[in-house]
Amino acid sequence: MDAQLKRGLLDVCVLTAIKDDESYGYKIIKDLKPYISLSESTLYTILKRLETGSMLTVRTAEHNGRLRKYYRITDTGRERLEDFKREWRQVVSIYRFITKEDENDEG
């Protein structure tokens, strides 16, 4: 996938992974694996960016005798997801237009 495009999609992918319930790093990567591959260092950057943008909050909790960070989506994060869905409805219609032209050429 085009690097620029992927970068734009990763933020919303991570937000979706924590949309229904808070999650942690490894779980986020596992949940996204069927759709998009993500390295630990990339995830770190994304989480930092989302936190700076107030789209998620972080809390540290004890888990099996060690510490683990949990990430939870905020209202701003949910708004970002809604914006993304809106933008991409337009992208999908353009895609349909482009592929329809291809079908006409072939026909």
Binding site: Y24, G25, Y26, K27, E40, S41, Y44, N64, R66, L67
Partner: protein, 199 residues
Amino acid sequence: MTKAEFLSLLSEGLSGRMTDREINEHINFYKEAIDDRIEDGISEEDAVLDMGDIDRIIADIAGEPVKAKEKEKKKKKKLKVWETVLLILGSPIWLSLLLSAFAVFIALFAVLWSLVVAIWAVFAAFAGSALGSFAAGTFFIIEGNLPSGLATIAAGAVLGGLSIFTFFASIAFTRAAAWISEKTTNGILSLFRKKEETE
């Protein structure tokens, strides 16, 4: 590679490139990532492998372009220290040389502009004499001395012609002197400006 080895290499790689707090944050992040995988049933070695190439991780975190810039800045800083030391030590020599060079430039400018003043003086002399001759010639004619009068007026005409010629020569010479002065001054100033830019 063990978890401890990985985290140790990571810590070393990031050392000096960010604050200790930031380094600890990254170490804890990767420590958690490895521990979560081990808890999930993955072996320690595979969990560490799953993190990816450590050099790549360090480059992603610390950012290679910034590193290159930092090294350049450091190099420049080091040069500056040496330069400053040499400058101080050599100041009796270069300072007096600089002052001498400056004095020479001032002298040259003075010579150039003195020539300009001289040419204008010549013009003034011709113009003044021309006017004087016209006046004297007219006076002679009024007095009734036609030959002298005409001769003096003729002389005045010649002087007038010379003064007109000298006038244009003075203008041209003044413009040339101004151009030379501007170019030389800009040239000298740009030497200093260039130094500032490289520093």
